[in-house]
């Protein structure tokens, strides 16, 4: 069961996180040389028009007032309007979020499916050839940039072998999964590498624990010991690792979506940068940061539920 004190403490920790996210996303757009308005309009408007529009948007107010206006707008769900396509930012993000979420979920699942069995092989054949081969391969995978892995997979499996589509997102759910398989695999490589390394160490530690000796002494079947005792306990430390790595995954989605031309929020981010669409950049930074901090929260709570010692 969850320790209530821990949950409350962990929820309180979210407050500085959210304040930080708000400050950063507020400041980012203010870092622009000049103001967002003239950055958008260029030379086409007069000074009087700029002043009028600034007053309308509250840009003539002191910084602190502007910040509170910004927070008020964000809390009421108003992220502004895209300069380029002229629709509310939150609706734009809502439209582009599903591909990214499916992509992230699929990569997480693929990463776990790859990492768990290999971690077992590596841990059980510790310091032998298969262990070295698995660890070496993942080390190379970790040293490879995401876009490079994507480009190679795309060339081999889509362009040459024609097993997968060259890009896009598809229409039905099955089609989405088919289209997003290679991109997910691309992202899963680094996740699997981090997870594998951590799980291998954890499994080696658990194998030396007394309760595993006891389970063996009881005469339990090796398979039962592995799944019920070893895997379960080794996985706990990896759950904590999932939070940060899924955060990295969402970042990696920005790159993967560009390589595979997937219409997700990552692609939207890059398009907005090229189009100088600052409200969208701001809104995206804000929502991605919130999503990641919620994933962190979830993994922390799950870990505490699995291992009461964490909550102490």
């Amino acid at each position: 069961m969850l320790n209530l004190g821990f949950v409350v403490r962990r929820l309180l920790q979210m407050i500085p996180t959210f304040v930080f996210i708000l400050v950063v996303t507020f400041v980012i757009v203010r870092l622009l040389p000049g103001d967002p308005l003239s950055a958008q309009a260029g030379d086409r408007v007069t000074d009087a028009q700029v002043a009028h529009a600034q007053a309308e948007l509250g840009l003539d107010q002191p910084m602190l007032v502007q910040f509170f206006l910004f927070v008020k707008h964000v809390l009421s769900g108003d992220l502004g309007r895209s300069y380029v396509v002229q629709i509310p930012v939150w609706r734009l993000i809502g439209q582009r979020l599903p591909p990214t979420l499916i992509l992230t979920a699929m990569s997480t699942i693929l990463g776990i499916l790859i990492a768990v069995p290999l971690a077992f092989v590596a841990a059980l054949r510790r310091d032998r050839v298969s262990d070295a081969a698995i660890r070496g391969t993942f080390q190379v995978g970790l040293s490879m940039p995401v876009f490079y892995i994507g480009l190679v997979l795309l060339t081999v499996f889509s362009a040459q072998l024609r097993w997968f589509p060259v890009g896009g997102y598809g229409d039905s759910m099955a089609d989405h999964v088919y289209h997003l398989f290679l991109p997910s695999l691309t992202l899963a490589v680094s996740l699997a590498a981090v997870l594998m390394r951590n799980l291998r160490t954890a499994i080696i530690d658990v194998l030396n624990a007394e309760y595993v000796d006891f389970a063996r002494a009881k005469g339990l079947m090796p398979r039962v010991i592995m799944i019920r005792h070893v895997l379960r306990n080794a996985l706990i430390s990896s759950v904590a690792l999932l939070g940060p790595t899924i955060g990295t995954l969402l970042g990696g989605a920005v790159i993967t979506e560009s390589v595979f031309a997937i219409p997700g929020v990552g692609r939207l981010m890059i398009d907005s940068i090229y189009g100088r669409d600052y409200p969208v950049i701001q809104g995206l930074t804000l929502s991605l940061a919130v999503v990641v901090s919620l994933i962190f929260l979830a993994t922390d709570l799950i870990q505490a539920a699995l291992d009461p010692r964490v909550a102490q």
Binding site: M144, P145, G252, A289, V292
Partner: protein, 291 residues
């Protein structure tokens, strides 16, 4: 030798059990391998003109999209530029990214970490909150957003990476200093009347810096990955600068017909990344006391 002579011939200061002074006699093969890879990389970065057969931007319209051959060992691109030469010249840019992208974080993070670890108290409380807040921020998204606003280019990339990167060093250093400052030798330093600055710099820091030093190696590899990713997206080094991410982007439309344009720069990234990892692992084996 008499006992007195024996004692006198010993060094006045005993070698510490932890830290940088513990290097003697335990050179691991991972350290040597990583060191050699990075040494070779450094030579390529310092003197690419002596090693690369062509100039990085030399067009040759008689050798367009040529596969690897004796004249062009890594092939040539759609402008007839030699891929081997461009990959070699890119060492200069990418190692620069690794160094300058981590320089401020290492220095500033070490300073903040030492302060937080030594003084603790409210400084530690504030620092804890900052860490909580920053760590949940998706790093790549933040860097891309900052670069988006400041504009593409390497200098803005350094700014973006530095804003967040110092936190990780500060956290590692603070945790170690907190342990070290309670040990006897720190108390001895205070009894001797040494200044706080001297105790921190000469005594605590050399013993507390191991973890941060090892992380620095990983961080430099990560920085190259980040720099080349931004270069690939058009937000980092700008073409025609020879940077590995830019080179890979140059070749992405030719992957099916002229794979060599993108593949070889990628291999350079992987080898350099492995060099940093091996060096980091080696340092870790050599510097950390065995459990």
């Amino acid at each position: 030798m008499t006992a007195a002579e024996d004692i006198l011939s010993r060094p006045a200061v005993r070698r510490r059990r932890f830290g940088l002074s513990n290097l003697r006699g335990r050179i691991s093969w991972t350290f040597v391998a990583g060191f050699l890879i990075l040494l070779a990389s450094l030579v390529l970065a310092i003197a690419p003109g002596l090693i690369a057969p062509y100039k990085p931007a030399a067009f040759d319209y008689k050798a367009i999209l040529k596969p690897p051959s004796l004249a062009h060992p890594f092939g040539s691109d759609n402008f007839g530029r030699d891929i081997l030469s461009r990959t070699i010249w890119a060492y200069r840019i990418d190692l620069q990214i690794a160094f300058f992208g981590t320089l401020f974080p290492v220095v500033f993070g070490t300073f903040v970490g030492a302060m937080v670890g030594y003084y603790g108290g409210w400084l530690e409380t504030i620092f804890g909150r900052v860490v909580d807040a920053v760590i949940t921020f998706p790093f790549l998204v933040l860097v891309i957003a900052i670069v988006a606003v400041l504009g593409p280019g390497l200098f803005n990339l350094y700014i973006a990476v530095s804003i967040v990167g110092w936190i990780f060093y500060a956290r590692l250093i603070a945790a170690e200093i907190k342990v070290q400052k309670r040990l006897d030798y720190a108390a001895a330093g205070r009894v001797m009347g040494y200044s706080t600055a001297r105790i921190i710099l000469r005594h605590l820091l050399p013993n507390a810096i191991t973890a941060a030093l090892i992380y620095w190696m990983t961080d430099m590899a990560l920085c190259i990955l980040l720099g080349s990713s931004l270069g690939y997206l058009g937000l980092g080094a700008q073409p025609p600068t020879a940077e590995w991410g830019v080179l890979i982007a140059d070749g992405k439309n030719y992957m099916s017909t002229a794979w060599w344009i993108s593949i070889f720069p990628g291999v350079a990234i992987v080898i350099t990344g492995l060099g940093f990892s091996l060096l980091g692992d080696g340092l870790s084996d050599m510097l950390r006391p065995k459990r």
